[in-house]
């Protein structure tokens, strides 16, 4: 099994080694030997471990399997083999309905094409995941407002998505994913379409919140700049995790250890 940061006999300790930092011994998310689909044509023996409060970038060219990996880790796709342990719980063993319940409660997802309901205010949009998780209206609204304030967009709470620019909407997507105070946040290109300055600000807020709340953040991106904003970056090449310096141009497929 090629379990990501352990590949090549890397020691299981936190720190920076040749531009790659290693997670803690007790990861919040521990993925081993993930295969999808059965022939491993998209993901093959993918392993990854992310510690509490850590921000990890999965860097890969378009078509390298990032979206599939996000779908597999969040339980939206069924893998052919492999294990996904979340906070010591075997997520991979859960039946579909309980997997959805677990996802609602413990995972946050930011989609690249994050969309909101235009009929609802931003606060109500951000409260929706809480309502689906069974939380009452008042508590959900209060929590959503708190999270909007944490992401510094409390002023936009009563505005509708159509009235907002890209930056507050991107942050709102993060708020919607974080409102449940998840153990793991999966973010697909969370800063897409933002200026460097906006992306830096949003990233600073996200990392600060992730550290203070102990949330493991996994950022899926094809942008080395976005990856560089994270604590650690892992390269996904041809459906496999590769450790090593990130090439300057990641769009070209690179053969690594196959």
């Amino acid at each position: 099994m090629n379990s990501g940061w352990r590949a090549g006999g890397a020691p299981a300790r936190r720190g920076r080694v040749s531009g790659v930092s290693l997670p803690s011994d007790n990861p919040v998310l521990d993925v081993r030997g993930l295969v999808f689909p059965a022939d491993g044509s998209v993901l093959n023996q993918v392993g990854l471990a992310v510690g509490e409060g850590e921000t990890v970038a999965i860097l890969g060219a378009p078509g390298s399997g990032k979206s599939a990996l996000m779908a597999c880790l969040s339980g939206e796709a069924h893998t052919a083999a492999g294990t996904v342990w979340t906070n010591g719980k075997p997520f991979h063993l859960l039946p579909p309905e309980q997997r959805r319940a677990f996802r609602l409660r413990h995972y946050g997802l930011v989609h690249q094409d994050a969309v909101f309901l235009p009929e609802l205010t931003l606060a109500r949009n951000c409260a929706l995941p809480l309502r689906y998780a069974g939380i009452g209206e008042r508590e959900a609204a209060a929590r959503a407002l708190t999270w909007l304030a944490r992401f510094e967009i409390a002023d936009a709470a009563e505005l509708r998505p159509g009235q907002l620019a890209d930056e507050p909407l991107r942050r709102a997507a993060l708020v919607r994913a974080m409102a449940n105070d998840p153990l793991v946040l999966f973010a697909d290109e969370p800063y897409a379409g933002l200026s460097e300055e906006s992306a830096d600000t949003t990233n600073r807020i996200l990392r600060s919140i992730a550290r203070s709340h102990g949330t493991a953040v996994i950022v899926f991106t094809s942008e080395p700049r976005t990856a560089a904003r994270c604590d650690r970056m892992v390269q996904l090449v041809g459906g496999r995790i590769a450790i090593g310096p990130v090439p300057a141009h990641v769009a070209a497929p690179v053969e690594v250890g196959r």
Binding site: H78, T79, A80, A81, G82, T83, V84, K89, P90, H92, L93, L94, P95, E97, Q98, R100, A101, F102, R103, L104, R105, L109, H111, D113, A114, V115, F116, L117, P118, E119, L120, N125, L128, P129, R131, Y132, A133, G134, I135, G136, E137, R160, R176
Partner: protein, 210 residues
Amino acid sequence: MSGGAPAGFAESYFAPRETPWFRARLALRLAVPLDRDADLAAWKVAWSAALAAPPLTVTLIAPTAKLTIGTVAGLICSALPGIAATVWSAARLRETRELAGRALRQSGAEHRTAWLLAAGRVALFAGLGALSGGLPVAALHVPLGAMLPRRAPLHGMFGAALSTWVSAIAVTTAVATGIALIAGSMAWTRLDWTPVRARFRALRGGRRPR
């Protein structure tokens, strides 16, 4: 991933339960258009369904024994403009519906729930339109019946029982709503209309628009 969960493991997780009326209130919230454009698009669906409803209701209530092919063809032809308008107007709401469904799924809704909630606006307006088109026919069937000659093929329907009229209106509403839902779905865009277009061109005798 395979294998079963350890005994008692699954039970230790909470089961999400949406609070009562949450879905109904959300459905209502999403069904009512917010701005003028959305309002106009939704009312177009309603008017189109109202246009299609009377001939559909009459077709359903007509006595089959006395119906001639000409009468059936006439009824179908009179329903076609309304059906075409319903298809066209519902298709205009497709993108809104698709986005609503995606937003709901991203918020944690199940696929089926998201689909139903997102389809609420089309269903509501098409249903309202069909009802408003079908009900006047039912309400006015006695004076209409008096105007028709006894030998007219449709004369027998005006003596139909109340329950038959209610059923006909219910089926009309379901049919109009169904047409709007299908036309306003993404599945509609995946339909291959090439054979139909080819047939249509052939019927036009090979004439091509300049």
